[in-house]
C-alpha cells in the first residue's frame, strides 16, 4: 500500500516533535506539583523559622530584696496597701544593685528598660504565694523586656539586632551573659496568659479558651441540626420543589464568602436580637450557620453510603422508618458524620473574617470564663498580633500560628484516622 507508506513516513517525521511536546507537558505537570509542594514547604519553614523562638524567652537573674519599705507595704492582706504598692520598685532596686553607679536619668531609664514592666507583678505573685518572703531576699529569674529578648536572641544567633537598644543596654547584656545571669527559658507565659500590649507578657491562653468556648457552641448547635437536616433530606424528604429548594440553598451557602456570615451576625444577632458583641455566643452562632452546610453535606454522603439492603432488612422486620434510621442507618453513618463534623470544626477553628464583624476582634486581657464573657479566638488573636508594630510580636504571631496549625493538624489527622478506622466499605 503506497498510500500507507507515505502515511508512515509522515508519522515518523512528526514523532520527534510530538515526543518533545509530550516531554514538555509532562515536565509542566511536574513543575506544577513541585510549585504546589514548595508553597507548603516554604510556608511551614517560614512560619516555624519565625516562630520557634517564641517558645523561649530571655530572663535575667537578679537578687531581689523584698524590702517592705521599698514596696510600701507591711500587711499583705490589706487590699488598700496592695493596691498602692510599688511592685516594680523591687526589680529596679535589684538592677541598681547589679549595676551600681548609674546616676543619669537616661541611663536609669535604660537600665530599668532591661526588664519587663510586668516583672514587679510577677514578684508580687511570688510574694503572695509565699508571704514569709517579705523582708527576706531571694535570687529570681526576672522576665526581660521584649526588645531585650529580641536583641538577646538575635545576638545569640550571631546577627545582633540592636536598633531599639541603647549602647549601655548592649554592654549590660554582654556583661550579664558573661556571668551567666541572662538566659533563655521556656516561655510559660505564652501558654498561661491572655493578651497584652507588652509582647513579652502576651499569651494565647485567652484566645485559646475563647476558641474553645466558641467551638463548643458551634459543635453543640451545628452537629445535631446538621445531622437532623441530613437525615430528613436523605430519608424522609419527598422529592418535590421544596426539597430541591433546600438542597440548592445548602449548596449555595457552602460557597458563600465567610464575611457575609459576619454581616448576617452583625445585622441579625447583634443589631436585631441584641446579643452582646464580642462574646462566644454570637461567635458560635455565626460559625454554626457557616459550618452547617459542610456538616449537612458530609452527613448526607455518610447516610447515602449505607447500602439500601440494610434499610430493607430493617423495614422487612416491621421496624418503623424512625426505628430503621435510629437503630441501623445512624450508627452505620456515624463515623462518616463525625469525620465531617471534625472537618467542619477545623474550618471553624481557622475562621476569622466573620468574627471581625461581630466584635470578637477587641483587645481582651482577661481569660474568658464563660460563653457570655468578651473573648477573642486564636485566628483573630493572630490577626491582632500581626497588626502590631512591635517586632517581638512577629515571633509571637508565628508561634501562635504554629499552635493553631498543630490543632488543625491533630483535628484533620484524627478525621483521617476515624475515616480509615471506622468507615466500612460496602
Amino acid at each position: 500500500m503506497n498510500n500507507s507508506m507515505t502515511n508512515l513516513e509522515k508519522i515518523r517525521k512528526s514523532l520527534s516533535r510530538r515526543n518533545r511536546a509530550e516531554g514538555l507537558f509532562r515536565w509542566a505537570g511536574r513543575v506544577a506539583i513541585f510549585l504546589g509542594l514548595m508553597a507548603v514547604v516554604v510556608l511551614f519553614v517560614d512560619i516555624i523559622g519565625k516562630g520557634h523562638g517564641a517558645f523561649r524567652i530571655a530572663y535575667i537573674e537578679l537578687d531581689i530584696d523584698y524590702d517592705p519599705e521599698k514596696i510600701g507595704i507591711e500587711n499583705l492582706s490589706d487590699p488598700q496597701q496592695l493596691a498602692g504598692a510599688d511592685w516594680q520598685a523591687l526589680p529596679k532596686a535589684a538592677l541598681n544593685k547589679q549595676f551600681p553607679g548609674i546616676t543619669s536619668r537616661g541611663d536609669k531609664r535604660s537600665l530599668y528598660g532591661l526588664i519587663s514592666n510586668g516583672a514587679g507583678y510577677d514578684l508580687k505573685d511570688r510574694l503572695m504565694a509565699n508571704p514569709l518572703l517579705l523582708g527576706d531576699q531571694e535570687r529570681v529569674w526576672i522576665l526581660t523586656d521584649d526588645d531585650i529578648d529580641t536583641y538577646y536572641k538575635s545576638w545569640l544567633a550571631g546577627e545582633p539586632y540592636a536598633a531599639r537598644l541603647s549602647d549601655k543596654q548592649v554592654e549590660w547584656i554582654a556583661e550579664l551573659h558573661e556571668h551567666g545571669k541572662i538566659r533563655l527559658q521556656f516561655n510559660a507565659n505564652f501558654f498561661t496568659r491572655g493578651d497584652s500590649r507588652e509582647p513579652e507578657q502576651a499569651g494565647i491562653r485567652g484566645a485559646l479558651v475563647g476558641s474553645l468556648f466558641t467551638l463548643a457552641l458551634t459543635l453543640i448547635f451545628s452537629f445535631p441540626v446538621g445531622v437532623a437536616a441530613a437525615i430528613y433530606l436523605e430519608e424522609f424528604a419527598p422529592k418535590n420543589g421544596w426539597t430541591d429548594f433546600i438542597e440548592v440553598n445548602i449548596n449555595n451557602l457552602a460557597a458563600v464568602p465567610s464575611i457575609i456570615f459576619g454581616l448576617l451576625g452583625l445585622a441579625i444577632f447583634i443589631n436585631f436580637f441584641h446579643v452582646p458583641r464580642s462574646v462566644p455566643i454570637v461567635g458560635g452562632l455565626v460559625l454554626t450557620l457557616m459550618t452547617l452546610p459542610t456538616i449537612i453535606i458530609s452527613s448526607r454522603a455518610a447516610i447515602k453510603s449505607v447500602p439500601p439492603s440494610i434499610r430493607e432488612a430493617a423495614l422487612g422486620m416491621g421496624a418503623s422508618k424512625y426505628q430503621m434510621v435510629l437503630h441501623h442507618v445512624l450508627p452505620l453513618a456515624m463515623p462518616g458524620m463525625l469525620t465531617g463534623a471534625i472537618i467542619g470544626m477545623a474550618q471553624a477553628l481557622g475562621e476569622s473574617a466573620p468574627l471581625l464583624m461581630i466584635g470578637m476582634v477587641a483587645f481582651i486581657v482577661d481569660i474568658p470564663g464563660g460563653f457570655s464573657d468578651p473573648a477573642t479566638v486564636l485566628p483573630v488573636q493572630i490577626f491582632l498580633w500581626a497588626d502590631s508594630p512591635e517586632r517581638a510580636f512577629i515571633e509571637k504571631t508565628s508561634a501562635a500560628i504554629m499552635v493553631l496549625l498543630s490543632f488543625l493538624i491533630v483535628m484533620n489527622a484524627s478525621a483521617v484516622w476515624l475515616r480509615k478506622r471506622l468507615e466500612r466499605r460496602w
Binding site: I47, A255, M357, F383
Partner: protein
Amino acid sequence: MAVTNILILVFGLGVFAFYLGRARSLAIAKPLGGIRYLHSLPSYYGFHSALWCALPALLLLALWVVFDDPLINSIVADSVTGSQAAGDTASYNLLMNKISNVSAGILPRDGRDPEILAAADLMTRLQTLSRWALTALILTLSITGLAWGWSRTSQVFRARQVVENVVEKLLLGCACVAILTTLGIVLSVLFESIQFFRSVPIFDFVFGLEWSPQTAIREDQVGSSGSFGAVPLFVGTLLVSAVAMFVAVPVGLMSAIYLAEYASKATRSYAKPALEILAGIPTVVYGFFAALTVAPFLRDLGESFGLSVSSESALAAGGVMGVMIIPFISSLADDVITAVPQSMRDGSLAMGATKSETVRKVIIPAALPGIVSGIMLAISRAIGETMIVVMAAGMAANLTANPMESVTTVTVQIVTLLTGDQEFDSPKTLAAFALGLMLFTVTLLLNIFALQIVKKYREQYE
C-alpha cells in the same frame, strides 16, 4: 429566673414526663398481659408526654426571649416624653443605652435627669416582671402539657405515629435552617443596603470612581461628606482575583492533570494530600505570610530590577491567595478529569495519540464544563476572600490596573468600615452592607451558574 435556668428546668420536667408517661403505659399494660397489647412501645408513650411537656414551653421561651427586649424598650421609650425624648433613631439608641445602663447599675444614678431615672426604674420593674411572668408561664405550660400528654396514654393511643410525626416536623425544621440562613443573609444585607441607597444613590455607588467613606462627624464640619463610588474597589478586587487566578489556574490544573494522568499510584497518594494541606491552612495564616514574607520579598525583588513594587501590592496578596486556591482548583479538576471515562483515553491512545495529545485534545475538551465551573467557583472564592487582603492589601482606594501598586478590595472595605466603634446607622456603616450585597450577589450568581454546569456535566457521564 434566668433563661438558662428555665431551660434546665424544662429539660428536667421533660425527662420526668418521659418516665411518667412510660410508667403509666406500663401500668396500663400489666393487667392486659404485657406491653405487646399496647399500640406502641412504652418509650413512645414516654416521649409523647415529654414532647407535650417540653415543646410548647420551649417555643414560648424562644418567642419570649426574642420579643421581650424590644417590647420593654418601646414601653420605656414611650414613657419618656419630656425634654429627654428622642427625635431620631440615633438619639433613640443613645437614650436607650443610657437608660439600660442606669437600670443595670453600670452608670451611677447621681445627678441624672429625673425622667431618665424614672425610665430606668420602669425598665428594672418591667424586666423583673417579665422574668417572673416568663417563669410562671413556662411552668404552667410545661405541667399542663405533661398532664395532657400523660392523660392521653391509653391502650389504643397511637403514640408512635404522633411522636414520629412531631419528630419529622422537627427534622424538617432543621433542614429549613439553611433556608432561614439564606433568608437572613438576604434580608439583613438588603435591608441595610436600601437604607444606604436612600442617602447615596445606587448609580453613584455602582459607577462612582471615587471612594472615601469618611463622613463628617458633625453637621457643620467642613470637608468631605464622603464619596461612595465603589468602582475602585471592584477594580481592586478583580485585580487581586486575577493575580490569584493567574497563579492558581495553571498550577492547579497542571498538577491535577499530572496526578490524574501521569503520576504513579504511590506518587498520587503522597502528593495529593500534601497539596491539600494548602486548603486546610487558615486564611489568617496566609495573610500573615503574604504581609510579612511575600510582600517584602516582592518589594526587594522589584527594587533589584529597578521597579517600584508597593509593600501592599496586589501582587503579594493575589499571589498568596492563588497559592491558597491551588488545591481547590486541583481537586475540582481532578474530580472532573477522573470522571472522563477510561474508554475516551483508550480510544485516543489506540489511535496513536501521545498522552499529552490525549489530555489536550480529548480529556480537557470533554472535562471542560467541569473545569470551567471549578474555575468559576474559585473566582467566587477569591472575590470573597477576606483575611489575606485585609492583612496584605491596601486600605486606600486606588483605581489602577497595575498589580505592583496597592489596591483595596470590597472585603477589605467591609472589614474597615465595620470594625471599630461606629454608629450603626451612619452611611459609612451602611456602605459596608451595600458592598456585602454586591459581594453576595456576584458570588451567588457565580456559584449557581457553576453548580448548574457541574450538574449538567455529571448527568452527561452518568
